[in-house]
Amino acid sequence: MSSQRRLNVFVNVPFDAAYEPLFEALVFSVFACGYRVRCALEDSDSGDIRLDKLVELIRESPRSIHDLSRIERGENELPRFNMPFELGLALGAKRFGRRPRDRIKIMVGERYKLPAYLSDLGGNDPDAHENQPDKVIRIVRNYLQRSPRGGVLAGPAKLSSDFATFKGRLPAIAKGINFEPNEVRGYADYPTFTWCVARFLTEPGTEDDD
């Protein structure tokens, strides 16, 4: 496995406004653990076939995180099948693509509800985030367990604290690069947001140490 590919974590989550705080927490924790997020938002080339793009992202990612928490009907009264579909692609790659070492994490909104709407995944033990960013951070951190080099990861509380610090400073960071605060967000400008996360994690802090 190439050194770059082993860092990739494919993220399959809903792209709606209510989910954005959870998405931002997810992105932050993946990078803080030494990995990098791969998701459909990274490519704005509308000439690409969406399915081809998804297949390529899954092909390049030995790890993936899937959120099945959106089970309500959307604004058009239709259910959204994208997340279960992409989970199926990842499971298919693992089973039939000679990739048994792929690791897949399934998140849900509420524990114990999954069998009622996706009974084929019976026996899996999804993690429930209850729409709380701190719980997403804990789930991601515990799923990854170790850094890509096998090192110890910061604990969930430390990651949550640093995420809160990052969010608090993001308006000033946005201003510093001539953006409005609401323009540097997980969904509004995904590439800029991820680079802000990655660079924030590597800049020395200013807090005193004991």
Binding site: L7, F31, A32, C33, G34, Y35, R36, V37, R38, E42, D43, S147, P148, R149, G151, V152, L153, A154, G155, K158, D162, F163, T165, F166, R169, A172, I173, A174, K175, G176, I177, N178, F179, D189, Y190, P191, T192, T194, W195, C196, V197, A198, R199, F200, L201, T202, E203, P204, G205, T206, E207, D208, D209, D210
Partner: protein, 62 residues
């Protein structure tokens, strides 16, 4: 007061103090796959520095 962390060769490390051992630990932070358009990464780094720095409270600038 903690000793300053030695400067790393690649400058892409997220450093923190392990609560149980008290030791400093770190991970290498990966670059995202797509660079932002219309703003340089150096400009982002400068903006973060001016905003008060990053998240790594264990490190203190000397």
């Amino acid at each position: 007061m903690a000793k300053a962390i030695k400067k790393r060769d690649d400058g892409k490390r997220y450093v923190w103090r392990d609560a149980s051992s008290g030791r400093f630990l770190d991970v290498v932070v990966a670059d995202p796959p797509v660079k932002p358009k219309g703003v340089s990464v150096a400009k982002i780094r400068e903006a973060i520095r001016k905003s008060g720095g990053g998240s790594t409270s264990a490190r203190k600038q000397k």
